[in-house]
Amino acid sequence: MASKLTRSNRAGWAFALPAFTLLFLFIILPFFFAFWFSLTNQRLISPNPTEFVGLQNYENLLGVAIVTLKPDRDENNQIIRDRDGEISYPRVRTITRSPDFPQYKGMREWFRWQSGDEAKVVVAKDVVFMKALVNTMLFVLIIAPLQGGGALGLALLINQKLRGINAFRTIYFMPVVISIVVISLLWRFIYDGDDGLLNNIVSALTFGAFEPVDWLGNKDTALGSIIVMSAWQAMGFHMVIWLSGLQTIPATLYEVAAIEGSSRWQTFRYVTWPGLRNTAVLVLIVITMQAFALFSQIDVMTKGGPLDSTQTLVFQAVQRGYGKQDISGGSVISVILFFIVLTISLIQRYLTREKR
């Protein structure tokens, strides 16, 4: 590999130079900037000089601790319970805001669980970041199979010789061409809780038995709604990649399979799927990378709400860097995101490597 690059092929390098220059200027260099800023207290605009703060920003972002809450007891030392039999605990703020526990200063409850009579509360320095991290992971985990699988299904559908198949190809590919901002706005109308298209369709189908749901205004459905819409939007793009993969599989193989009397499923399982191996790797990695960069849909549709149920890492990075003028805070998130994506990509590469 290296020998190929070092062989005298000046023309090749000359061709690559413009792209390399742009990549270096706008991707590689800014990344080093981000890495450096994440170790300082750099502001977007400020008359104060920038100071080096070491890993302070990382601590503020990733600090997590567990607090044990003992149940409230009355004067007879009986545990106080409410009407539903739930044990009553002191509020977390009595600990995090008390001068006796300086180590928990500025922390907030992230989630809790019950162990015996006590409640174990996980407090985090930056709950919003933690939620963004979890949401982003969840988004990637769900969207990768959903979008990849859906795109493969579409590709198989339109990979046949039918009349007017090009019309279908165009229709499926259409959402990819339209700006994501426009699509997000349109889906806001679809998901509208009062008289949105989705609610109207479902209630018409169920003859009014269906209670309208405020899809984006409910913390249990907001992220799911965005996942469905995002999967639909980019499906066409990956469909085209799958399609190109399908076209590379020699027709002779299918002929042989047909002569051998293989069923549809067997044909897919033993001819099509092995032939799509490299395509699958590419699609999976591309979807993963794109999914981690989820931003526009959030910015247009929910702004991270309701109750942080749709916060994502990139949205938080932008919010902090530009909205709150805290470039260092945005940079830390970007650096963490970079390492997460790098790790996952490497793992994917390893798992999908050619086994010889």
Binding site: N41, R43, L44, I45, S46, P47, N48, N60, R91, V92, R93, T96, R97, G106, R108, E109, V127, R188, F189, D192, G193, D194, D214, L216, G217, N218, K219, T302, K303, G305, P306, L307, D308, Q319, Y322, G323, K324, Q325, D326
Partner: protein
């Protein structure tokens, strides 16, 4: 040879073209109202009047869409590419002044002595920006609604108390005629939130930050008054009185006009458009939650960039724009409050007995500008998130605590923002 000729011809032509304004120095002006025809017309008029009125300066206007305006200015500032005259949102000004992007105006303070307090951008004791108008917020209602529900019409001297206000919402809800009793514009999670809702908090007795020092929000944003405010705020949504954060912008725009909302808490920049659609609309003062009725103040203002080579020219333009006729024109066009009492008398809506006259008094008596501190830019975002989360059912005390922590951490990170 031929090229040279063409080049010379072009050179001659361009000299001829610019000959008209040969003696004038160009000044650039950035404005936030791109896409708003009425505003554009008036601001263009002011610019051309000014350019024709003297022979030293020639102002060149560039308009930006409001949503990305602040980002454009900050980006330009970082690129050392600011215009001479900057249009700035009142509460953002201290941040830009502190960052060294603006310089004090060269306008005699006596010239603006009679301006509404909310229109003056003062930071560190100096006048950095001045507005041609102030904005106010009011409770939009219909006369017929008040009569149907048997409600007392509140006045400036006797606004609704909290109980009267809640009673009005309850009656509107019980009547079953409305989708929601109240619309607060919850879909607009921008600067609207602190502008529209922090006065409620102040009327309860809390605030976004302790204004005596500007160093902490502890006790003002999470004290007992703030907690009472938070509980009340949450109740608006849990009891189904008000439309929540997921409301669509279209519903918000038309909901009051088409009768889906009994009341709407809205800025007076929507007043002219609403009056055209709803003939018996009345504008009610803010309810009094205990510490007097309060509304926000401070809208877009003009200032001079620190990098401007011609601050004298920039200030001359701003001073020119402060004439009553222009204040009145903006007011008539958009419905905003003219900055001076004399200009108010020249307008349709704010002259004595005009439909919006009530606001002029309200704005001069009860308007409270948002915290004057460079940290406001961050505090505004934190407050907005807290309000949205509480509306969506977050624990009030925990949410306000979190907001306080974030605000205080930010102040600390910025070494007190120069206070």
């Amino acid at each position: 040879m031929k090229l040279t000729k063409t080049y010379l011809a072009v050179l001659c032509a361009s000299t001829l073209l610019s000959g008209a304004s040969f003696a004038q120095t160009d000044l650039s002006l950035w404005y936030h109202g791109a896409g708003n025809e009425v505003e554009s017309k008036i601001i263009n008029q002011i610019v051309s009047d000014f350019n024709a009125s003297q022979s030293d300066w020639n102002v060149v206007l560039e308009s930006f869409p409001q949503t990305s305006y602040n980002d454009s200015v900050v980006a330009a500032a970082l690129a050392k590419n600011l215009p001479d005259i900057i249009d700035v949102d009142g509460p953002v000004m201290p941040n830009w002044a502190w960052s060294g992007y603006m310089q004090p105006l060269q306008i005699d303070e006596a010239k603006v002595a009679n301006f509404l307090p909310g229109t003056k951008g003062i930071w560190n004791g100096k006048l950095y920006s001045i507005g041609l108008w102030d904005a106010a917020v009011a409770l939009y209602a219909r006369k017929s609604t008040l009569e149907d529900l048997g409600l007392r019409t509140p006045t400036l001297d006797k606004p609704w108390t909290k109980d009267e206000f809640m009673d009005a919402l309850e009656k509107a809800k019980a009547s079953g005629k409305y989708k929601y009793a109240l619309d607060l514009g919850m879909n607009d999670q921008g600067e609207w939130y602190p502008y529209a809702f922090s006065p409620f908090l102040q009327s309860f007795g809390g605030d976004i930050i302790d204004r005596s020092t500007y160093k902490t929000a502890e006790g003002t944003l999470n004290g007992d008054e703030a907690l009472a405010f938070g509980e009340w705020w949450q109740s608006l949504f849990t009891n189904g009185y008000a439309a929540g954060t997921s409301e669509s912008p279209a519903d918000q725009q038309n909901g009051f006009i088409d009768g889906s909302f009994a009341f709407q808490w809205n800025g007076n920049w929507r007043a002219v458009a609403t009056m055209a659609e709803v003939d018996d609309v009345v504008f009610l003062p803010a309810p009094d939650f205990g510490k007097g009725s309060k509304i926000g103040a401070g809208s877009w203002q003009f200032g001079v960039a620190a990098t401007s080579k011609h601050p004298d020219g920039a200030s001359a333009f701003i001073e020119f724009a402060l004439q009553d006729k222009y204040l009145a024109a903006f007011s008539d066009g958009i419905g905003l409050i003219p900055s001076t009492a004399t200009a108010a008398q020249m307008t349709k809506n704010y002259k004595d007995g005009g439909p919006l006259a009530v606001f002029y008094g309200l704005s001069s008596a009860q308007a409270l500008i948002r915290p004057v501190t460079p940290g406001y830019v961050v505090q505004s975002k934190v407050f907005t998130k807290a309000m949205a989360d509480i509306a969506n059912g977050a624990d009030v005390a925990d949410m306000l605590d979190a907001a306080v922590d974030e605000i205080n951490a930010d102040i600390e990170k910025n070494s007190g923002y120069g206070h």
